[in-house]
Symmetry: C2
Subunit: 269 residues, 2 copies
């Protein structure tokens, strides 16, 4: 049995009660933290908190060489952990399909996702979000600035009045030749960097909404023009950025009341 368990967004207590029970009951616990991180804890603290050994696998160990995980799941109860929800990534669907093809039973215990939190914290309605985009570090796509595909994605949503969630790049040390080297700290793109990139290459006067540390006890939500957000500091990671499309009256009110948006950055109603 292979149980995929989403740990949610922040620390040991972000998992569901059901997920916690399942991970504590597992014979072996694998995890990956290259797609996202729980910034409110460490792997050692997570393992100690739950009283389990956590065997962390890098991208190669999940995508290229998953056999040890699948073998273990044939013989016993295996939990596979990620931040957020385990299936919000093609990779882990692939792992689940491979398990199913080997006749291994699988189950998914869902976790809170960044996408839900972005909608929930900002007051922007979830059904008015279009397709999300990811803004990479310039070195990761071999060019300066904002890739055309990111600008096109935002524009296509806005043409339909829809909001865009912009995921910001994470580089885990050792995962990319151009990124931080093994032993160096991981890199997290800040929302101010992202706002500056979009202000320079896209539209400095457009409205942006920063969501920092979603799921933590001290999330920050801040709305202003991208050019203004570029000059602010939103503290510790993880950050996301939302570029709104058309705003309903109540969405605008939420941005003003809950995200400190200056009235002049909002449309008139």
């Amino acid at each position: 049995m292979l149980t995929f368990i989403g740990l949610g967004l922040y620390d040991e207590r972000s998992v569901t009660v059901e997920g916690r029970e399942a991970l504590r009951a597992a014979d072996r616990v694998f995890a990956e933290f290259y797609t996202s991180r729980l910034v409110g804890t460490t792997v050692d603290d997570l393992a100690a908190h739950h009283g389990v050994d956590v065997e962390v696998r890098d991208r190669e160990g999940v995508e290229q060489r998953p056999e040890p995980i699948l073998d273990a799941a044939e013989d016993g109860d295996v939990a596979f952990l990620t931040a957020g929800d385990t299936m919000i990534s093609t990779t882990h669907v692939d792992l689940r399909v491979r398990a199913a093809e080997r006749g291994v039973d699988t189950r998914v215990i869902h976790g809170v996702t960044a996408q839900s939190a972005a909608s929930s914290l900002t007051g922007l309605q979830n059904y008015r979000f279009g397709k999300a985009v990811t803004l990479p570090f310039p070195y990761a796509h071999g060019a300066d600035g904002v890739p055309q595909s990111v600008r096109d994605g935002i524009d296509a949503n806005r043409d339909r009045g829809l909001h865009t969630l912009v995921y910001l790049d994470i580089k885990v040390a050792g995962s990319s030749p151009a990124g931080p080297q093994p032993g160096e700290p991981d890199e997290y793109m800040s929302a101010s960097t992202a706002a500056e990139m979009l202000a320079d290459d896209w539209d400095a006067s457009a409205l942006g909404v920063v969501v920092g540390r979603a799921g933590s006890p001290d999330p920050v939500v801040a709305a202003d023009r991208l050019g203004a957000l570029a000059d602010r500091d939103f503290g510790d990671p993880l950050h996301m950025l939302v570029v709104p499309g058309d705003l309903h009256h109540l969405e605008a009110e939420a941005l003003e009341t809950l995200a400190g948006c200056p009235a002049e950055a909002l449309p008139e109603f």
Copy 2:
């Protein structure tokens, strides 16, 4: 202090550990179940499990007369519960804005949403979903069949290659003059009813993916042409339906392996 707590999708154990701690520590606990339900438990069982009194409010008691909730939050720690995530609904953003305007501190503890689960269970990639739609019971919108706005929403997503999550109507007894009357059972639209409506009014040969009982220990995921799904029984509620746009190879493989999709209903690769 007013803490909005999402209970997740199914039963008492679908809440996060953090959410459980917060709801147990609250001085008063309010809840609403008119936007969605935890079908794996009852309000009495939920209250007993957590050792709290749960004061359930109907739509009017939240939207028109929220003062008792806000008054209590001025004087103590109040938890406000919903299924899923509390903010995936305009209503509760409004309640949060009203609290903030009265100077009451607010906090959101996120819950797993149906939207995340639909993506996660089907293997359809979350960033390839467009704007979701809700399919109402015919009596709820005063006409037979599928509203034009629902068909247009699906078509607009498909024009961009995107998947559409179709939420299926829920009628809580007494909430609508035309729906179930007080004392009668609540009504949940089944995925087969939804598939039949879409097959009749839109495209019987189009692919659909049923997601039943997301977040429960026995979710069902089934993919086939809408005309074929209309003839099947997917068991207990809640159900959702996904109408895919373009499929990536791995998405198609997931539908075949994890959702039993007949090969002839899938595109060639």
